[in-house]
């Protein structure tokens, strides 16, 4: 028995970007097109390139048994497509993938959950959908229920569950899947901090048990914690395979504006973001210049420029700040303050700039990543780009710099100390 778990060779997946705005057609359209066939063939030869895109091209790598591989890349890089192919949900257009062992995929939690059925019934249903037999589910039933902490509500219809309970239960079932190869996609993107912590914990257990894991995430800190090696995908191609820290560093630092400014082109923003349209994210020093390196002793101004093509109620636009090691520093939204929240509960159509200032003597030296998020709490996430801009903080002249040492932690406040002789 080989020690190979997955072998992927020159895998590619092509999608048609349809002639119609929707991917499917109607019979009427097809009939009309057939009649126009001669004219279409002529047109097709010219239009060929535009009609199709390669979501994945020329992907080659292997994964040995017991390895935990991370897959990172920007939105649209092809990560989910790769997982879908490996999960047999979709077929590759070229190349092949060789799978040794059973694959369990977690592309989403709660697949197949039906709101009218009780927790108990959904466990069986979801378990069966994920590929477990009834006897297996019977065996693990109690474990699943206690992991999800829904003992009291197990016989209540799931539509009565809070969103937290729902997620916990859905994850609990999926977590007790014990395949040889586990393929996980962004499962950690939903849920609160507690849920995410449990997900990470469980995934880390799975990895320690010696199963092979392929893990896609935007959460750099999770990727760093769980995986030994990672591959970076960009525009459907495999750009790098290396030890996780190296891949993450490469991902964070390349391709992003080294000029303190990140502008989004129209084709980088998905249709689902409408009516929100992000324009740019910029960093300014205290003299109002756009910079990518700031001094820790000076305040930093951050401006998010965007356009609303229609009014939105309850919109909040905010920032994530992370270190390049993947630790989150803070999240802050433009309507966090109650007065702002009230004043801007409805934002009419128009062009906007949301700006804020990071105080001086706040961040420690190092490289940071700024992400933006535009969403309406628990309603819709319009746009998110977790790694929009990278910048450097320089601590020259900061308090304490008389001792040239490396101070740990992302913050470096200048605190007011007083010393009294007693």
């Amino acid at each position: 028995m080989s020690d190979l778990a997955i072998r992927v060779e020159e895998l590619g997946k092509q999608y048609r970007i349809g002639l119609s705005p929707t991917r499917y057609s109607t019979l009427r359209e097809t009939l009309v097109e057939t009649i126009n066939l001669p004219a279409r063939i002529k047109r097709r030869n010219n239009a060929e390139a535009v009609d199709r895109i390669w979501a994945l091209r020329d992907i080659t790598f292997d994964l040995k048994k017991g390895q935990v591989l991370g897959v990172i890349g920007r939105n649209g890089a092809g990560k989910s497509t790769l997982l879908k192919i490996l999960s047999r949900v979709t077929e590759p257009s070229e190349g092949f993938a060789e799978i040794h062992g059973q694959v369990g995929s977690l592309l989403e939690v709660g697949t197949g959950f039906h709101p009218e059925l009780t927790g108990r019934e959904n466990i069986y249903l979801n378990g069966a959908i994920l590929g477990m037999n009834k006897s297996e589910i019977d065996l693990k039933f109690d474990q699943i229920v206690s992991f999800a902490e829904v003992e009291q509500f197990i016989d209540t219809p799931v539509k009565r569950y809070s969103s937290g309970m729902y997620l916990r239960l859905a994850f609990a079932v999926a977590a007790h899947l014990e395949p040889d190869i586990l393929v996980v996609d962004e499962v950690l993107a939903v849920g609160d901090a507690e849920f995410q912590r449990r997900c990470l914990g469980k995934m880390s257990d799975v990895a320690k048990q010696g199963r092979t894991v392929l893990f896609v995430s935007h959460n750099m800190s999770a990727i760093l914690r769980l995986t030994e090696e990672a591959i970076l995908l960009d525009k459907g191609r495999l750009v790098l395979r290396a030890k996780t820290q190296e891949t993450v560093d490469y991902y964070m630092s390349t391709g992003y504006a080294q000029t303190g400014e990140r502008i989004w082109e129209a084709d980088e923003v998905s249709e689902s973001a409408r009516p929100f349209r992000p324009i740019a994210l910029r960093l300014f020093d205290q003299r109002g210049r756009i910079v990518d390196t700031v001094r820790s002793t000076e305040p930093i101004t951050i401006k998010v420029e965007y356009e609303l093509q229609a009014g939105i109620t309850g919109l909040r636009v905010g920032l994530y700040l992370m270190t390049t090691r993947g630790e989150y520093v803070f999240t802050s939204f433009d309507t966090d303050q109650p007065e702002m929240y009230e004043r801007f509960s409805v934002r009419p159509e128009g062009h906007y700039i949301s700006s804020c200032e990071l105080p001086a003597n706040f961040l420690n030296e190092g490289r940071y990543v700024l992400g933006i998020n535009a969403s309406s709490f628990r309603v819709k996430r319009y746009f998110q780009d977790e790694q929009a801009l990278t910048f450097t903080v320089d601590v020259a002249g900061a308090p304490g710099m008389q001792w040239p040492e490396n101070r740990l932690g992302p913050v470096r406040p200048a605190l007011d100390w007083s010393i009294e002789a007693q």
């Binding site: 028995m1 499917y24 109607t26 092949f96 995929s105 592309l107 059925l117």
Partner: protein, 283 residues
């Protein structure tokens, strides 16, 4: 296409995932492997349909029953449509039972893939399980309504003849027809979304092309073979013959209907399998 590759000393499942060209294999053995999932999906369909309704399972009885009442009044009574030797109510009710299975397949199975798009785009399992579960759950409705039929036969004092032994065959024929149509429609609906809108109309049309409110003997002899190209003709006439002993054996029509039903099923399975690889991308 998925190909089990050569296994080495220790039996290990190796799959090769690569682009399939052409028709692909039917691989019905895989359907057997996923039988538990089929069971759970059928059970889900039943539970959900009956859970929050006041009427619950009695809906399976009320639908054909109420239809029968309306037909008896208008077709049997007012229009005076002949029902042969048996009273009109039981004449139509007997036909409504297999029709129910078929109509459910047209409507539910036809739309089932699109309705379950969340599952199809996230998990692997042979997609045939979905329309199959729809059809099987119709079987349960049938069983419930059948009990009422037996009651009606007792009420109208209709003797059970030896023909009744053929009933399972006709039921099977109904299932084959339902599944064949279900597979075709569900696969087509993924590609051509207007199929979903055509289905109600198709159901109505098919209803009148099937001898439910009238007897097949009303159809002129020279047209009977063409008429029997509708597999439901064989099913319904067969049901009536098996249960009520009406008319002579309908074997020529049943023969034609059976062949058509089988062709529809086999072609449906092949077409479905062929289109299956695009479902996750198109649905």
């Amino acid at each position: 296409m998925v190909q089990p590759a050569a296994t080495s000393e220790q039996k290990e499942e190796v799959l090769i995932l690569k682009p399939t060209r052409g028709w692909g294999r039917l691989n019905l053995i895989e359907m057997w492997k996923y039988r538990e999932l089929t069971y759970f999906l059928t059970w889900r369909d039943l539970k959900v349909r009956y859970k929050q309704t006041v009427l619950g399972a009695s809906w399976a009885i009320l639908q054909p029953f109420l239809s029968m009442v309306v037909f008896s009044v208008f077709f049997g009574g007012l229009l005076g449509v002949s029902s042969g030797d048996v009273p009109y109510p039981i004449f139509s009710y007997t036909a409504l039972l297999p029709w129910g299975v078929f109509a459910k397949a047209l409507n539910d199975a036809g739309r089932s893939l699109v309705t379950n798009r969340a599952m199809i785009t996230k998990i692997y399992f042979p997609r045939m399980v979905i329309p199959l579960a729809s059809v099987l759950s119709g079987l349960v409705d049938f069983a419930i309504a059948f009990v009422v039929l037996l009651g009606m036969m007792w009420y109208y004092k209709i003797p059970l003849t030896s023909n009744i032994w053929t009933l399972p065959f006709f039921l099977l024929l109904a299932m084959i027809t339902a599944l064949g149509v279900g597979l075709w429609l569900s696969a087509l609906n993924v590609l051509y979304r207007d199929i979903g809108y055509i289905i109600p109309f198709l159901t109505q049309l098919w209803f009148y092309l099937t001898p439910i409110v009238y007897s097949a003997s009303e159809v002129p002899e020279r047209w009977q073979t063409i008429y029997a190209l509708n597999p439901m003709v064989g099913v319904v006439e067969g049901f009536r013959w098996a249960l009520l002993g009406t008319s002579a054996s309908p074997s020529p029509m049943v023969g034609v209907s059976s062949i058509v039903a089988l062709l529809m099923l086999v072609s449906g399975m092949f077409y479905f399998r062929r289109m299956e690889r695009t479902f996750a991308d198109m649905v």
